[in-house]
């Protein structure tokens, strides 16, 4: 028998360490070649680690949530024959953003619902079989009905002798819409505390937010924009679009306006390495689009927005959002932005205070479009108004520059033809 050591693989991009987010095996488990052993996360991408050998797990070198250096031993596997060492091969093709289910600590303060069996004081041999009475008490016919109906009988309270669940109990349970029966007194105190370990994507988000807010002195500037003409144009363009063109939202217009403005105001399209004291102004405009996924916030990146037309921008935003939500976005699609757009538009809200996507220096937040009365000099007229809440790194963007930048965007969006005029 030999021993095989699997080391944390080099997951690329010069990453020196990765966070362990999932174990697919535990000590003592038999593993087969190519079986997925673990998942590690770097830079918002999850990488699965397959087993290079067949054997039995002897030792696991990290717990979920731990950060492991590249080439550090990750696990040991007992194998038949000669042992060895190997750096695990990351499954490069399956770089995914995955929803990492945090392990939920069992709450100890659940109110006791079942009468506890009294345990004799002398130790007794524990048989592997589940105690009979811990299963819901019901006749085979009731159990069959429950199985057919997908009902967990543990949720049904029995009114029969010894708490037996009758057909009537099942009928009543179904009549209530198969919800667990509320406590008999109606309102009840709840004392449960659910502890959720912050791992994976949630931990990344948490770290990034702390970094951004602790290092970057934010200045947030909110301006309202009359988008009535933009909305008219958008409606016309959508009504006459070709079948293969993605329906336009406000976003692609804003992206094109950003590109045009950045041409004149390169200060906002930059990354600031404050340790080195270097601001990098980028010629390329890679626009991050903050996107809500089941696992949390991710920022897929529309690369080279300066080289994309409005329809192209629209299509790319839709594609990336979908990829991020389904977890199929590639690693390079989730990093490398130079400026970010965040939109809570559909949810409403008058203004937001966006947090800059470190190490960028600007973020543009879109608020909801609402029809408001606007004084045109002689009367109130209904206009479609939208607020733009933008934050800037005040170390490198002065308030004057910030205001100029936003006012320029405002001008473009209020007279949208300007967006399309060659400069």
């Amino acid at each position: 028998m030999g021993e095989f050591i699997i080391k944390m693989p080099d997951v690329g991009e010069g990453v020196a360490e990765a966070e362990l987010v999932e174990w697919h095996c535990k000590v003592g488990d038999p593993v087969r070649e190519d079986m997925i052993l673990a998942a590690v996360m770097t830079d918002k991408a999850t990488v699965e680690i397959p087993s290079p050998v067949t054997g039995t797990v002897l030792w696991l070198g990290a717990e979920i949530g731990d950060t492991v250096a590249v080439k550090a031993p990750l696990m040991r596997i007992q194998v038949a024959g000669e042992g060895g060492e190997v750096e695990a091969v990351a499954m490069a093709e399956t770089v995914t953003v995955e929803f990492v289910e945090p392990p939920i600590a069992k709450s100890e303060s659940h109110p006791p619902v079942e009468t506890k069996k009294s345990i004799p004081s002398t130790p007794v041999a524990k048989t592997p079989a589940q105690p009979h009475a811990d299963k819901p008490l019901a006749s085979p016919a009731v159990r069959l009905r429950a199985q057919d109906g997908g009902i967990d009988l543990r949720q049904v309270s029995g009114t029969g002798p010894a708490g037996r669940i009758t057909h009537d109990d099942l009928d009543q349970f179904l009549a209530r819409g198969a919800q667990p029966q509320p406590a008999s007194s109606g309102l009840a105190k709840k004392t449960a505390v659910e502890e959720i370990k912050v791992t994976g994507l949630r931990r990344r988000i948490s770290e990034k937010m702390v970094l951004a807010t602790s290092r970057i002195p934010h200045i947030t500037y909110v301006e309202e924009i009359d988008v009535t003409d933009l909305e008219d144009l958008r409606a016309t363009m959508n009504a006459t679009r070709k079948p293969d063109q993605t329906k336009l939202t406000i976003l692609p217009f804003l992206m094109r306006a950003l590109v045009k403005t950045i041409d004149e105001q390169p200060v906002v399209n930059a990354t600031f390495d404050d340790d080195a004291g270097i601001i990098s102004r980028h010629a390329a405009v890679h626009i991050g689009i903050a996107t809500q996924t089941p696992a949390g916030l991710t920022v897929p990146v529309v690369r080279h927005a300066e080289a994309r037309g409005i329809w192209d921008c629209a299509a790319e935003v839709v594609r990336l959002a979908e990829a991020a939500r389904t977890g199929s976005a590639l690693r390079e699609e989730l990093s490398g932005s130079t400026i970010t757009i965040t939109s809570l538009g559909a949810m409403g809200g008058i203004a937001t205070t966006p947090i800059i996507n470190h190490p960028e220096v600007a973020i543009v937040g879109v608020n909801k479009i609402m029809t408001r009365p606007v004084w045109d000099g002689s009367q109130f007229i209904p206009r479609k108004m939208m607020n733009l809440s933008s934050s800037f790194d005040h170390r490198v963007v002065d308030g004057w520059d910030a205001a100029t930048f936003v006012q320029r965007i405002k001008a473009l969006l209020e007279t949208p033809a300007l967006i399309f005029i060659e400069s």
């Binding site: 069996k117 007794v124 105690p131 009475a133 085979p140 159990r143 199985q147 057919d148 010894a162």
Partner: protein, 463 residues
């Protein structure tokens, strides 16, 4: 030969396999069943059914012999009876044959395709069957492994010559004068008792300190008494050592060596899952000890491969396999099913019979239950008296807090037929009051069940 492609393939037509196939056929699933020997498996061909036939014949013969010896208090006397074992065996074979063709008929009625031959896995979806006419390849979406079990062989007492397994014991042409049974479990005692009644001089060699080690001493006592009455010599704590000619060498509980002369040596030291010869290695399925590991839907570690019956573990009983087979067929048909049985009753056809369902008092206590136990002896039961068999009792185990019935055991003549009442009570979640308040017909042995419940409640009427 042309490949067969089907939705469900069942390997082994024992009680688990054929029930699975019939139910699948009823549900409209395109099903194929492969059997290497005969439909019905161990149970029907060389197990439950033929042994019960032999036991019945032996019982009848013993009754008549008893009368011939003018010992019957019933006032019946007869001439000394004679036995033609070959004829008995032929009668037994007739029953087996009828059931064989019955099973095949049922399979055909359910439109199940039957393939005769030995199956071997090629991969998780493909099986090769060695048939009389060549190799038949069968591809299936779902495969059910129901290959059963076989008698355990002792390395120093290999089967052959005078050493026989239960299979040969059920087809002997003459009654052995001296029979040594190695292994005092239920199979050894059932057959040993039968041969003693047919006239053999029987010795039982059991390695543990008690015959029928899976039962508690109270349940075993009436059986041990009857064995003694039949002149069966029971050596507990004794180990078989080896064979020299027709003599079995044993080491007794006291450590002394003894030689037991025997015409036949019946080895019944247990059964093992049949895990060889059908390509298990190709599949690399997870095991639980010697058995295949299954979950509560009888799924193995490989997708699309189920396992049922003796191959999946204890208790190795036909009715467990049948229930598993039925469940798997329904799962394959898309129904939501999980194994939610509360008990698997077990019957030991010794003299008297033992039946158990659910937990024994010891098992219940070991699981942390506070219990009350009610026991009613057949000596206080009118029907038992009229049948000349008052040995034994019914015992009921219930939770002390809710009177929920946890287990029921009985030992006594004919109590196997009470197994349905016992199992039903547990599956229905009966309390002691339910059984006590149910009218049990008089005069029957089943009254003992009601009285045991009353006894546990503290107000038995007939003791």
């Amino acid at each position: 030969m042309k490949e067969i492609v089907c939705k469900l393939l069942v390997i082994g037509a024992g009680p688990g396999g054929y029930i699975c196939a019939i139910r699948a056929g009823q549900l409209g699933i395109d099903t194929v069943i492969v059997e290497a020997v005969k439909a019905g498996g161990t149970c029907l061909n060389i197990g439950c059914i033929p042994s019960k036939a032999l036991i019945h014949a032996a019982e009848e013969f013993e009754k008549v012999s008893h009368m011939a010896a003018a010992k019957s208090p019933l006032g019946i006397s007869v001439e000394t009876p004679k036995l033609d074992l070959a004829k008995t065996i032929a009668w037994k074979d007739g029953i087996v044959g009828r059931l064989n063709s019955g099973v095949l008929g049922l399979l055909r009625k359910a439109r199940v395709k039957i393939v005769h031959g030995r199956a071997k896995f090629r991969d998780g979806k493909t099986v090769e069957v060695e048939t009389e006419t060549g190799t038949q390849v069968i591809r299936a979406e779902t495969i059910v492994i129901a290959t059963g079990s076989e008698p355990v062989e002792l390395p120093f007492l290999p089967f052959g010559g005078p050493v026989i397994s239960s299979t040969e014991a059920l087809s002997l042409k003459t009654v052995p004068q001296k029979l040594v049974v190695v292994g005092g479990g239920y199979i050894g005692l059932e057959l040993g008792t039968a041969f003693a009644k047919l006239g053999s001089k029987v010795t039982v060699v059991e390695a543990t300190s008690q015959i029928l080690p899976q039962y508690d001493a109270e349940l075993v006592k009436p059986v041990a008494k009857r064995l003694a009455d039949l002149g069966i010599r029971v050596l507990t704590g004794a180990k078989a050592k080896g064979l020299s000619g027709n003599t079995l060498l044993i080491e007794t509980a006291e450590g002394a060596e003894e030689q037991l002369a025997a015409d036949k040596i019946l080895v019944t030291v247990g059964r093992k899952p049949r895990t060889e010869g059908w390509g298990l290695d190709e599949l690399d399925l997870d095991r639980a000890g010697k058995f295949l590991r299954i979950d509560d839907r009888c799924r193995t570690s490989m997708r699309g491969v189920h396992a049922i019956g003796d191959i999946t573990g204890e208790p190795m009983l036909a009715h467990r396999a049948m229930a598993q087979g039925e469940m798997v067929a329904e799962i394959v048909a898309g129904k939501k099913r999980t194994w939610d049985k509360r008990c698997i009753p077990a019957v030991c056809f010794t003299d008297p019979e033992i039946v158990t369902a659910g937990l024994s008092p010891d098992e219940a206590r070991a699981q942390g239950y506070e219990i009350r136990v009610g026991q009613f002896p057949f000596s206080a039961n009118g029907r038992a008296m009229t049948m000349l068999s008052e040995d034994g009792f019914v015992r009921i185990v219930a939770r002390a807090d809710s009177n929920l019935v946890l287990g029921i055991q009985a030992v006594g003549s004919g109590v196997s037929e009470l197994s349905s009442a016992f199992a039903l009570a547990i599956e229905m979640g009966a309390r002691l009051e339910d059984i006590a308040a149910t009218i049990h017909a008089h005069p029957t042995r089943s009254e003992g069940f009601q009285e045991a419940a009353l006894k546990a409640l503290g107000h038995a009427l007939h003791i």
